[in-house]
Every structure is written in structure tokens, then in C-alpha cells.
Point group: C2
Chain length 125, copies 2
DNA sequence: TTTATATTTCAATAATAATTGAATCATGGA
DNA sequence: TCCATGATTCAATTATTATTGAAATATAAA
């Protein structure tokens, strides 16, 4: 992932309402939530919510699907996971001594690197 | 973690130079990097770097230590890890069917929950 | 001391982002 | 068709962030 892209994804999360929206969709999982349900849950106006949903969609952190007269929003875990990997990439690589046996406060936790969908059988190279 | 706090930490990462700075410090690990080394590595002016370092420090994503006439900066993995946990908290909790056996694109990866410092002796459970 | 290096602060400007309320668009039911 | 509901768009205003270059601070070497 490119820095500029990652920064814009982070920017889309860097606003309390949007962060609440995104986290609510993370908790909701596959079924997602309608815009109206989100607005009520978070206590924001439809206009404000719509503005923030657009930002999140532009950042590809969520996507939407029309269902009757509702629009259902869902978190995009692929983007989310790519972002987490980007943030922790090559953690402590420049400090050989700290790469193993360190505890959580001294280095990055293992963030599952994206597997493109069980490619074939092989141990990690 | 509170939403407002998390949003301000994210904001501090949501700027290409700051993101580069932070990632460089993540890679550097414990030894950290001096401000000057960072400035050269990233090709930014001392003034701009200083401004961004202040933002990251305010967000508690980095800390600094004077060493002779250099100032060494380090990533704060505790803050970083807390942020990652916050983002993936209760992932898919509202959708019981998706909580197990899902692949990386459908739900959150396991982000190591903070252990406060090797509680006692035991092999990883 | 004086001088050089490393880094931060300041004040001005330029650029971006968030909020508001009214207006618009789309879908489904009476 | 007409109306109500769910949601988005628009334009104006306000608020927040980033960049510049000059000046200031701090440490260390000559």
C-alpha cells in the first residue's frame, strides 16, 4: 500500500463520528446496518451521517448496497486488514535483537497478513 | 479507549509525512532514530519534521529522549497496539454465524490483546 | 568563551475538512 | 398517481491543519 493511500484511509477514520460509524459496522459484520439505523444509534443528523459515509466509502473502508428503500452499509475488512498490516510492516526489522521474544509493549503484535484465499498448500516461505 | 482519543491518534497518523515518520520508527524499534536522521531519510525540512514529531508525540504514538545533542525518537507500541485493538474490538459480535471459521476478508484478524507484562511463567496457551 | 550543529518555536499564509439547513432524488405503499 | 419515508446533494459558513522562512534554544567541540 502506498503512503498517501494509507494516510487518506486513516484520515477517513480520524473523525469521531466516522470512527463510531466504522466500528459499529465492524461489530455488525456481514449483515451490515442501514444508514437510518446508524444515524439513530449514533445520534447524528442524516445529513452529517451521509457526509461521513461518503468519506468512508471513498476510502474503501465501507461499501453499500440498496435494499428496498434502505441502503445497507458494511465494513470492508479487506481494506481494514491491509491498513493494519501496513502500519506494522517490518516492525523492528532494523533491530535484530528485538525481533523475537519481545513483549507487546516493545514491538508490534502479529497482525494476520492477508492470505488471498487459501492459495494452495505450502508453509510460509 | 475513548472514541475522541482514538480519533486524535488516527489523525496524527493521517498525514503522509507523519505516517512515514511513524513507520520508520516502527521499523527502527527500540534503538529509535534521531530527528536529523529522520529528516534526511524522508527528505523533509527540519521545521516540518519538528512540527509533525510534535503531533505524534502529543498523540503518544512516539516518545523522545535527549542523547547528547541529538534527540532520539521511538515508536510507542503500547499506544499503537491499543489503537489496533480498539479498531477491531467486538468484531462481528452482532453476527453470531460469522464469528468463527471466517477468512481474512470477511472479518477482523486476531490482534493481540495487550498483556500487561508476562503475568507469570507459562507456555503460550 | 566562541563557533558549529541539532532541533524547536514563532507568526503569517495557504489549504482542507466539518456543520448547517434547505432542496433534491429514489423507493414503496395507499 | 400521490404521499411518506429513507437517504443524498448543495452552497455557505466556520473551524482546523499544514507549510514557509526567520529566529531562538540547547548541547558540544574548538
Amino acid at each position: 500500500m502506498e503512503t498517501k493511500i494509507a494516510a487518506s484511509i486513516l484520515a477517513s477514520l480520524a473523525q469521531p463520528t466516522r470512527l463510531d460509524v466504522f466500528r459499529a459496522l465492524v461489530v455488525a459484520g456481514k449483515p451490515g446496518l442501514a444508514a437510518g439505523a446508524l444515524a439513530e444509534k449514533l445520534g447524528v443528523s442524516a445529513t452529517v451521517l451521509s457526509f461521513h459515509l461518503k468519506e468512508l466509502r471513498f476510502a474503501q473502508l465501507i461499501d453499500s448496497e440498496q435494499q428496498g428503500r434502505f441502503i445497507i452499509y458494511r465494513a470492508r475488512f479487506d481494506t481494514m486488514n491491509a491498513l493494519l498490516s501496513f502500519l506494522t510492516e517490518n516492525c523492528c526489522a532494523a533491530d535484530p535483537r528485538s525481533t523475537k521474544g519481545v513483549d507487546d509493549d516493545t514491538c508490534c503484535p502479529p497482525v494476520a497478513t492477508k492470505k488471498t484465499k487459501r492459495p494452495s498448500s505450502s508453509t510460509t516461505p
